[in-house]
């Protein structure tokens, strides 16, 4: 008898199996069409949790990291006081504009401030028509998001509207028991509109949480969109985020991300430049210490000609922290005159920290200017000496040099109130370091 190798069965991890059970019992309570959610969960089951043998997840083995599927967070039972929300937002509390607050993945009318604003239509996923899980292939983490999303912001900025201030979307976790919070946002910005969106993930609960959040953003022709994202006050958690953005003709998109110490974070940022002369200006800051793991994986897809994309990514790492920056730029055959530049710089404060930078260019057009660079260094001791020789004490000199290192990424932010909040959050992280 010959030895026929057993057909490999798709072995589920304990977490994957638990997700299936949780999905069945959660489904009835989730908004939108059940069939669409089932289909989304099916897409997740077919792929399973991504692992390091997948190129895009080479540096972040999610299958290994998600040891346990934390149950979906129940709607908060305890009353959350307004000053608790303010405290959790820290320097971000002063950002001016309408505010949508989701507590443990559920909209909180009490904490939201969104009176009718001309040109702005605000709804939530839980009661928006047409917010069912979309069909079509998506990566496993997004499929999981579509299956479990309990709520999120559904916003439309009407054509030509230029609401003042920023639309602040707050996701607050109050969980005292380990839980997963899954939210999904849909933002549509009409032609000739100008809008600023600030997405904040904050925590007042003590439990470790898993967050899975997705944002679909569609930017109309000639629109200008600022989009800031910050994780604040989180620790020992897993944060998975997926942005899917399309940019129209002559439109400008300026995303800025700040990720200070939050356990494991994975940001997938997918931007498609669909219209002629569209522009992307991305700035990202990752600050890690201890065993933080911050992975930012971007795919910039130039479909239309004459577009410009810029990514500046700054990382400071201490302890055993690790950061990953994968930046893939795809230039289609028709996307002539593409101008794409990418820069990733890391400062290492500890010999045990690790920075993995992987730029990738996939160019099918012949008339393009694309480039990328990456550096990884320690703080220059000569510069510290120069500062000290002018009377600046060592700790202050280090803080000054670190601030200046992330400063140019913060300077790319257009709105002064957001810039100030980013600066303060970064400084708070840095002083903890140099204190």
């Amino acid at each position: 008898m010959s030895m026929t190798p057993a057909t490999p069965t798709q072995l589920k991890t304990k977490a994957e199996a638990a997700y299936a059970e949780q999905f069945e019992s959660a489904l009835a309570g989730l908004p939108g069409a059940a069939d669409a959610r089932r289909a989304a969960f099916g897409r997740f089951t077919a792929q399973g949790l991504p692992h390091r043998r997948l190129e895009e997840w080479k540096y972040t083995d999610l299958r290994a990291a998600v040891k346990e599927a934390l149950p979906p967070a129940p709607a908060a039972k305890a009353v959350v006081a307004a000053n608790e929300v303010t405290a959790a937002l820290g320097p971000l509390a002063v950002i001016d504009g309408p505010r949508l607050v989701f507590i443990d993945g559920h909209f909180s009318a009490e904490h939201s401030v969104a009176s009718a604003i001309a040109g702005l239509s605000i709804a939530t996923l839980a009661n928006a028509a047409g917010a069912s899980a979309p069909a079509g292939d998506v990566p496993a983490t997004v499929a999981l998001n579509h299956a479990f999303a309990s709520d999120g912001a559904v916003v439309e900025v009407m054509a030509g509207a230029k609401p003042t201030g920023s639309l602040v979307i707050v996701f607050l976790s109050t969980a005292v028991r380990p839980a997963t919070i899954t939210t999904r946002n849909i933002i549509i910005v009409g032609a000739d509109a100008a809008a600023s969106v600030v997405e904040i993930h904050a925590q007042i609960g003590t439990a470790s949480t898993h967050t899975n959040t997705s944002t679909k953003l569609q930017i109309g022709d000639r629109a200008v969109v600022d989009h800031a994202k910050v994780i604040i006050g989180a620790s020992g958690a897993i944060h998975l985020a997926n942005w899917d953005v399309s940019i129209g003709i002559d439109a400008l998109y300026r995303p800025a991300q700040l990720t200070p110490s939050c356990g494991l974070a994975r940001h997938d940022v997918n931007v498609t430049l669909n219209g002629r002369n569209g522009k992307l200006d991305f700035s990202g800051i990752a600050l890690g210490r201890g065993s933080d793991h911050i992975d930012t994986t971007m795919v910039i897809h130039h479909v239309a000609p004459g577009c410009e994309s810029r990514e500046l990514f700054k990382t400071i790492l201490d302890g055993n922290a690790r950061a990953v920056f994968q930046g893939k730029v795809i230039v289609d055959k028709d996307a002539q005159k593409t101008d794409g530049k990418q820069m990733a710089k890391a400062l290492m404060l500890s010999p045990n920290a690790e920075f993995d930078s992987k730029p990738e260019l996939e160019i099918y057009a012949d008339d393009v200017a694309c480039g990328h660079g990456s550096t990884c260094a320690e703080i220059d001791p000569d510069l510290i000496f120069y500062c000290r020789s002018r009377g600046i004490p060592e700790a202050q000199a280090r803080a000054l040099l670190l601030e200046s290192f992330v400063g140019d990424a913060i300077d790319m932010i257009d709105r002064p109130d957001i810039r100030r909040a980013f600066t303060e959050i970064a400084q708070a992280w840095l002083t903890h370091k140099s204190a």
Partner: protein, 251 residues
């Protein structure tokens, strides 16, 4: 008064000895020049005075106002009044000159127990010093020394020196890389800071600078220590004969 006594310096992580018994005193109110061939250890002396890591003092001492500075950190020395104008001033991308200087001035004020300056007070001081030294303070809006010409870097050092109000100024090859106009601005600046409460050590390879900053005494440094000291005429002698005499001694 600065007193350098039998100073021996080697590189911290190499066996190379750079200074081997340098002795020198500069009283307050005087300007002394140190001249010497390239590689004779002039910059090393300047760095050791300022406390740069990487050098090890194996013997001797440096006293400033009667106290040894060897155990003091570079920022403590700055607070004690020691200022080094670098031969190659460093560039600090991302830190505006004004931020840098304000941080420095206030850090020093704090340590000296004097009043820290508010932004308007600081700006007023910067403008006043700039006008006094004939230095355009616009350059302080740019990141420290980034993209500066050689002349701008040296002007920026002199302005920093004036703002930190040191009592011991060490100027390392302040003339290098300067055209004649820049040389004049820089040396006028240094001369403006001459005072009876201040000691100055002007390090240079060439006699040229000493036409503008006339020293009280000149010392020749070669082979790790002072070979000869004299009045300002010693610089002129060196200009004629060169350093051949001091170089050959090595053979």
């Amino acid at each position: 008064m600065l007193e350098i006594k039998n100073l021996h310096v080697k590189l911290a992580d190499e066996e190379k000895v750079i200074l081997d018994g340098l002795t020198l005193s500069v009283p307050k109110g005087e300007v002394h020049a140190i001249m010497g061939p390239n590689g004779s250890g002039k910059s090393t002396l300047a760095y050791v005075l300022a406390g740069r890591p990487g050098y090890e003092v194996t013997d001797g001492d440096i006293l400033w106002n009667g106290e040894s500075v060897l155990e003091m950190a570079p920022d403590e020395r700055a607070a004690a009044g020691i200022f080094l104008a670098f031969q190659y001033p460093m560039e600090i991308p991302g830190v505006a000159g004004l931020t840098f200087l304000r941080t420095a001035v206030n850090a020093v004020a704090k340590k000296r127990g004097t009043k820290e300056l508010t932004t308007p007070e600081f700006m007023k001081l910067v403008k006043a010093k700039g006008a006094e030294l004939n230095i355009d303070v616009e350059m302080l809006k740019r990141p420290v020394n980034v993209g500066f010409s050689g002349g701008e870097k040296k002007r920026s050092e002199i302005l920093q020196m004036a703002l930190l109000a040191p009592s011991l100024c060490v100027l390392d090859e302040t003339d290098s890389g300067l055209d004649i106009d820049a040389l004049k601005v820089v040396s006028d600046g240094v001369n403006a800071l001459r005072s009876k409460d201040r000691a100055m050590l002007v390090i240079t390879h060439y006699q040229r600078l000493l036409n503008h900053i006339v020293p009280d005494r000149v010392h020749v440094l070669a082979h790790g220590h002072i070979q000869k000291s004299g009045g300002k005429e010693l610089a002129l002698e060196l200009e004629k004969s060169g350093y051949a005499e001091y170089k050959s001694k090595a053979a």
